[in-house]
Amino acid sequence: MKARFWASLACLSGLALVLVSCGKKEESAENAQAGQPAATPIDMSTVGSVSGAVKLEGPAPKPKKINMGADQFCASVHPGGGATEEVVTDASGDLANVIVYVKEGLGNRTFDTPKTPVELDQKGCMYSPHIVTLMAGQTFDVKNADQTTHNIHPVPKNNREWNKSQAPGAPDISDTFAREEVAIPVQCQVHPWMKSYIAVFKHPYFAVTGAKGSFDIKNLPPGTYTLEAWHEKFGVSDQTVTIGAKEAKTVTFSFKPATGGD
């Protein structure tokens, strides 16, 4: 009787573990795409564009030093230690790694999901690029160019969370995000300084500023839009812009560093 009780308890515990190991299966991208309506036709003869720049007004916070001594490989790639990529600016205040996207104004338009995957690489124990943007249902491939092991752990609020390991030379990890979300932090707990962000959109009208802080969003149908600029440290800034037929508009966003510094 007692042996049967303990055996039952052990079986129940094992069953619980197995059920948990199978993981939560949310709606897959394929299922989501299967039910997705056809893309709204856009008259390419009338599309316009919006471009511009994002500036940081005021002194930029200095990058923080990263101690990579916990992993010999990482330390060998960065002998003097690494540096954070939270705030990347140049002497002119051009702010890089800002996601600029159409927040409102597209109505109920739907768009085809690109077949080309987006890549997120791990080089020198840092994510490359620091910001990844893609459409919902679009594949992104995680690569490991390093001779060390990483774990890739996106922490979304509106999508399925997962955590996978990737040894040196391991195949790419491919996955998708089913729902729009700006932006999903990506972590590596083997190397806790590694941080990246993934922004997922339902439409193709987004861009990430480069070293010169510039962005260019093309093929926008005529209309009035709310543009939003998102930065991981400085938050968001919105502007409204009206695009006429074949019109190119310029918009400038600016952020201010928080007072009191870090």
């Binding site: 515990s13 619980a16 573990l17 948990v20 190991s21 993981g23 923080k64 990263i66 101690n67 916990a70 992993d71 010999q72 490989f73 990482c74 954070t84 060390t148 092991t149 774990n151 752990h153 969370e161 997962w162 955590n163 996978k164 390991s165 040894a167 972590q187 590596c188 707990q189 083997v190 190397h191 806790p192 300084w193 941080k195 870090d262």
Partner: protein
């Protein structure tokens, strides 16, 4: 008639206490280094027993290995107690210890597989403290001191020292839960800060009662000194942990000062809870235990009628 004293069992129990303390340190290091998910699979690590020991994997896998050793040691102790102990309740306490560490293994696995959600880290942290309390209790119950004869002490105060000791341990455990909730980002810090005040109150009250009521007892004096000392250390470590967290909030990775303070604060918290449990047991061993407080109160009222009122 006192049960026979098994020195070997007692020493093994003490060894298990030491290993469990090491396990608590290893577990605290995992959290403080943000390494809990550095090994996404369980029970193997990267599909093997010997994963690459780099970065956070060092802490997570070491924790698992030490946990495996503690599981095995607890099983040995449970079997040993079952075979050697005359006291039936001690045999079942050994089984309870093994059940607790097995539960810890399951919770640890769920913590990883569920990506730190659903309160798993807090449950894992709290059961760890309970398990530690059990193994400390087993070490005490198998000691020569526990099994020797002792004169019974008269408890002249109200509430009884047993009630105070239980309240003290209960409040300490609640503070452990609040601390785990904050550490794993489930709740803000203010409940844990309020809890610190509550622990200060119960530790002071219990210590004062032990001193006033059992001034001549060596064991009660030792229990009081330990309780006050460990609490004092824990309070200072808590201030240090809070300061280090605030001053390194924007650091790109956990820094040594924060790791040191938070690990020490967590482990000394476990020691404080174990001390609270120890005080309960020492009082139980030395002071007659009245099941219902009313009976005790009735006896004291009758005695007061004969001898005059008594203080705390």
């Amino acid at each position: 008639m006192q049960p026979p004293y098994h020195q070997a069992v007692h020493r093994f129990a003490l060894f298990l206490v030491a290993c469990t303390l090491l396990l608590l340190i290893a577990g605290a290091l995992v959290t403080s280094n943000e390494a809990a998910l550095s090994v996404p699979d369980w029970p193997l690590s990267y599909g093997t027993l010997l994963p690459p020991m780099v970065g956070g994997i060092v802490f997570e896998d070491s924790h698992r290995k030490i946990a495996g050793a503690v599981l095995l040691l607890t099983l040995i102790l449970a079997i040993w107690l079952w075979r050697a102990e005359q006291r039936r309740w001690m045999r079942w306490l050994g089984v309870a210890a093994f059940g607790a560490v097995l539960g810890q293994a399951v919770l640890g696995g769920l913590t990883v597989l569920l990506n730190l959600h659903y309160g798993m880290p807090v449950a894992h942290a709290c059961l760890a403290q309970i398990f530690f309390g059990i193994v400390v209790s087993i070490a005490l119950f198998t000691s020569n001191w526990w099994n020797a004869d002792h004169p019974r002490l008269e408890d002249s105060g109200s509430p009884s020292v047993h009630s105070l000791a239980f309240l003290n341990a209960g409040v300490i455990f609640l503070q452990v839960v609040l601390g785990a909730g904050f550490r794993h980002k489930d709740i803000p810090i203010w409940p844990h800060l309020v809890g610190a005040g509550a622990v200060l109150a119960t530790v002071t009250w219990t210590g004062a009662a032990l001193r006033r009521r059992f001034e001549q007892s060596r064991e009660m004096r030792l229990a009081r000194i330990l309780l006050h000392s460990i609490f004092g250390m824990q309070f200072l470590l808590g201030i240090g942990a809070l300061w280090s967290r605030m001053s390194t909030a924007n650091a790109p990775q956990p820094l040594p000062v924060t790791i040191a303070f938070t690990v020490a604060h967590t482990v000394v918290g476990a020691l404080l809870f174990a001390c609270g449990v120890g005080v309960i047991l020492v009082c139980r061993r030395l002071v007659p235990f009245q099941l219902f407080e009313a009976n005790s109160l009735l006896h004291r009222e009758e005695a007061a009628g004969r001898n005059g009122p008594r203080g705390i």
